[in-house]
């Protein structure tokens, strides 16, 4: 994977490069989604209604991703330790959570920016 799940033993520069490439990729995906949703909603709502709703949906993804990512970073070891202790595994690992929310955060970021740009382009 090209993002935060990269093992830390690799050289720093390479790790950062992988993170940036990953981020850019998901921002692009988010931008496509943001523009797509805005245009799709345009068929049923006014330009302002459509871009506002698209923006809010993107903000939901962005906010959720960022909150969950930072909670995973903060609570990661505690939860892993607790699972080990209780002898249960839900499949939750800090690395997998970081990866998932890295994706969501950057997708949301791209989405939000694309929706804002669409609304400017439409002259809302």
């Amino acid at each position: 994977m090209t993002d935060s799940s990269v093992p830390s033993s690799r050289p720093r520069a390479e790790r950062y490069r992988a993170l940036v490439v990953g981020a850019l990729r998901w921002v692009a995906v988010g931008a496509v989604l943001g523009t797509g949703v805005s245009l799709a909603l345009l068929t049923i709502w006014s330009p302002k209604g459509a871009t506002d709703t698209a923006f809010a949906l993107g903000a939901l993804v962005l906010g959720f991703g960022v909150t969950a990512w930072s909670s995973a970073v903060g609570l990661g070891r505690t939860i892993e330790g607790m699972q080990e202790r209780l002898n249960v595994s839900s499949g939750w690992t800090e690395a997998s959570a970081r990866e998932a929310f890295f994706v969501l955060s950057w997708t949301g970021a791209g989405w939000v920016v694309a929706a804002a740009l669409t609304s400017i382009a439409l002259g809302v």
Binding site: F64, A68, E99, A100, V103
Partner: protein
Amino acid sequence: MSTDTSQSSDVERGFLERVRASPFLEELLSNRIAVFGLVLIGGMFAIAIFARLAYDIDTIVDTMFGTNPTKAAPSAEFWFGTDGQARDVFPRVLYGAWYALKFGTATVLASTVLGIAAGILAAYYGDLTDNVIMRTMDVLLSFPSLLLALALVTIFPEELGLWRAVAALTLVYTPRFARVVRGAALKVLEDEYIDATRALGATDPRLLIRHVLPNCLAPITVQSTLNYGLAIIDIAALSFLGFGASPGDPSWGMMLAEGVERGLFSGAWWWSFFPGLFLALTVLGFNLLGDGMRDALDPRMRD
């Protein structure tokens, strides 16, 4: 008719034998606490169906000024007393069972369906899709259900009434089912016979649903039972806080809200006491049964 009866008793014997052969049910039925829960739930279902058939919803919602006394204490005529709108509380409380089970069933069914979809998608695509879906579910799971429901309920328009609560709670409970289904689906995918079936030309989604569902029936049932109780209590809580039933609805949460706000402090305790009692008994029934089922399914939890 007589031939029918003999046939059905034959079927019944077969069924009973199968029941006896199943270690899960044997375990469950030997658990007196779980059986007690089952009896409570059975009673509530009977009451719900009786109320639905015996009472007319319009007369139950209508105010009864002029015919009944207002806030009358329980008596031979009004077993559970009357409320501030002079309505007889007794039929309203019974009808509340119908409301609770109807909306509870809708919530559990909807979140089961969504959970199956999410779980199968996660297991089938694996990798990043799996990771994003399941980690998202984990986060939703770690939220206190009432606060999450409170946040989600605002997204749906007020006109939906109790369905608004159902919609919000469906999203709240979906992750629990998704987790169970994903586990079962992964097990099925690992099995070799899937490859064999695939070679015969079965399409993927149909294949998965046909093979996964039978495998996770037991854990889904346990989840449903536990979430049934939660759904009923959370729907009532949302109604109590003003995000669900509309005033006058014979839902236990609404009756409690009205009874506590306008009855309790003026001494009309019966207005909120009986709906709450029925609500608590129903939820207790589901929790007792669910707990017993979990023990029967996973003996490790017990000893």
